[in-house]
């Protein structure tokens, strides 16, 4: 439907071509107006909110 590879974990997207977050344990969501994710292995969380 969105023409790109997607990967989903339990409720969150995990790293893929569509959502290249970070390490293999990272998860989050690349939305229309935000891109927020965390990488538990690197103890890092990032939020990027557009038009906000």
């Amino acid at each position: 439907m969105i023409f790109l590879e997607t990967s989903f974990g339990l409720g969150y997207m995990i790293s893929s071509l569509f959502s290249p977050f970070g390490g293999t344990g990272s998860f989050g969501h690349p939305g229309a107006v935000d891109r927020s994710a965390c990488d538990p292995d690197n103890n890092l969380a990032i939020g990027y909110v557009m038009n906000a």
Binding site: G31, A45, A52
Partner: protein, 307 residues
Amino acid sequence: MATKGRWMVEPASRRTRCIVRNFSEHDEIGAVIASTSRAARSSTSGAERWTRRVGAHTTRHAAAGVLVDKGATASCVTPVAARSDDLDTPSRRTGLSSQQWQESIPVRWLVSHKAGLRPSTSNWLATRSSRGTHRRSPRSAGALWEPGSAHGYHALTFGWVLGELIRRVDGRGLGQFFARRSAGPLGLEFWIGLPESQEHRRRARPLAACCPTAARSRLSSKSCFDQFVRPDSLLRRALTLNGVFDIPDGTRVRAPAEIGAANGITNARLAVRMYAGSSASCRHARRGRCSECADRASGQRRRRNDR
């Protein structure tokens, strides 16, 4: 964001350059980026290691925004389910229209976008909404694929079904449940369904209402986004909830609705705090019954040992 590769592990300076380019070379009108590390959270100076605001138009919108909130909905469901056997329990209490679906689709397929649910065929927010509007069950004619056999982005049905599952199990709506179980304990000003008393915090406008014409024309020129501009396409219907997200801002039609996939309202710093909390939940789940997380963790350990 115009980045290449794994953006979370890029140096902060490169991320900042990419964001600045969004303003200088593209049509970005406002954005906030924030990050936090575990070490910083344990410090006494506060949760955020650093926060950058970029662009001349940013500060007027900085207090609150519209955040696609599948992560917020997931934070309600996954930690609870992962610590129990509920992930593999048939989702009888989702209100799915087909009894066969209720008997055969486990919660695990709902949270991992494997259920194959069709987007709604009706605009259920056509009438003026209020808190709790997001309760109606999807009336689907059938699955887009054999449930469990594949996955695809359930752009809005994700929050729709999980919100209903929470309501039928807990008795509270998704917005109230999130406020009590996630936002409250983490100290977040983060709402799924903005209360009228908090309306002054809503600063951002829906993307469709403020997307410059030039950007729209560029999107439409790309073949992979052709479906996005066709009102009757599956992608367009899935992403806009059959046109609900084209409603001009300022009408308060949408803000109070508890849409568990697209109507979370907060800002970047607090979104980061929510994900930091989810990160802690994930680490906890790895020690418990979250098999998919455990599989990924063991894979990482194997790779490290191979080095």
